[in-house]
Amino acid sequence: MFASENILELTYLIATVLFVLSLKWLSSPATARHGVWAGEAGMLLAIAGTLLHKGILDYRWIAIGLVLGTIIGVPMGRVAMTAVPQRTALSHAAGALCVTLVGTAEFYLRAPHVPQFMMGVLSLEVILGALTFTGSLMAAGKLQEVLPQRPITYKGQNLVNLGLLAIAIGIGVTLVLHPDKTFLFPFMIGIPLAFGVMMIIPIGGADMPTVISLLNSYAGLSAAAMGFVLGSKLLIVAGALDGASGFILSVNMSKAMNRSFTNVLFGAFGQEQVAVAGTKEARPVRSASPEEAAGILAAASKVVIVPGYGMAVAQAQHKVRELYDALTKRGVDVKFGIHPVAGRMPGHMNVLLAEADIPYDKLLEMDEINGDFPQTDVALIIGANDVTNPAAREDQSSPIYGMPILDVDKARTVMVIKRSMAAGFAGIDNPLYYLDKTLMLFGDAKNFVGSIVRELSGGHG
């Protein structure tokens, strides 16, 4: 006969299968929503099975937790699409908080008799959990602009950070060998908490896609470690999937910036450019009005729009959609070229443009679109800077040299919507702006695109 323990294991097994299917279905937009349903079904099954666990004596606290969690979760599920990066960072923090608290409670329930293997994974769980918790909160703060976005650096920063991490690991090792030294445990939480803050301080806005992915990976790994502690295969699988996904995204993002992980975490981009900023001379640029821009766009047959973080800041995606409609109606072929690190998290631009109802088959990745630029009449850049900078291809002295970019300078005409001539996040001047074929469209992205749309629909019938 089936004991209740076996039934519980069986529900976990089914949930595991559903989780894998959930990610598999996410591979294509056509089946992606099935993925969400599979995930929800697996989750409900696993929670229902757990609630029947015979060791549970008191349901009051569980009920309070589930209700309060839902009350917080619903608004978190309803945030505006432009706020998705900070929401994601917050959810990494919440996941890490859960893991760290459970690890802490497990330690004090078992101490001082904790088997070595158990203590090892438990240390891993709380160290990763704690640093992910504060690191993600810091990232969310920077993304929400409650904290300064500029990287903050000081001398010996890397030494301090690595030192903190080394001390935390040292404490973990000591506890594995001497689990009765329970007074050390609070330090094993506190130091990674401090490390999480220190780790994010030197990181600037444009590095956020990599950092969010990395924190995603840590959150997954800490959950997997918790699975080892609790002996839950389901949790090990879920953590491994999350860890793998975060890892793949981090690698993608670092490649797209031509930087290594260590460089993102320990590099602090902002520093070296400070000296360059002073020597910049005023070079002439050509600017154009909305009327002129509309005229050129209307005469084009192929247009590629390159969106960046500036489009998100200006909330211009719906106006961009109107522009897309107006041009498509005139028979202009409009596509979007999306750099992997455009925006503040992987896939950020795609979500914003999809929100504005732009069909996803018009959103092309860098590698797919780059071959098209020589046949493109107009490349229209909205709020993107460094990802279009030809210096990354040509100028070996440039800090972003080697970073793969969108080859917008190969289009016949380049138009750049930008608020002013201020340099991008990296503080690097963009030679694209001084080309003869480049027209600068100065103004707020939303208003400027709106004016172009008015010209297109009114002025020329």
């Binding site: 949930a15 295969k233 793998a244 992987p346």
Partner: protein
């Protein structure tokens, strides 16, 4: 329940391989929903928190367990909701389905 190290590592490594193979195929178009979905799935850690709060072996465990349930549940509810909201927005061009 106890799990020995080797069994645990088998499960972890196999899951990591499956994860790599499956997730590599996810189009960059959907990387934001991917992150919010894996985040929601990761919140399965709630099962550990539920047992902790329900068994009530100590008041300390009960309190930490309850806070952990709140944190994880907010991720489950919020994560699935926002993933579905995002995925609903992705539409192909051409004739729209009714």
């Amino acid at each position: 329940m106890q799990l020995d190290l080797v069994t645990g590592l088998y499960v972890f490594l196999l899951a990591a391989f499956i994860g790599f193979e499956v997730i590599r195929r996810v189009s960059p178009l959907l990387h934001t929903p991917l992150m919010s979905l894996t985040n929601a799935l990761d919140a399965i850690a709630v099962v550990g928190a539920i047992i902790l709060a329900g068994e009530g072996k100590s008041n300390f465990a009960k309190i930490l367990g309850t806070i952990a349930i709140i944190a994880a549940t907010s991720n489950i509810v919020g994560g699935f909701m926002i993933t579905d909201r995002m995925l609903k927005m992705f539409k192909a061009s051409g004739p729209r389905k009714p």
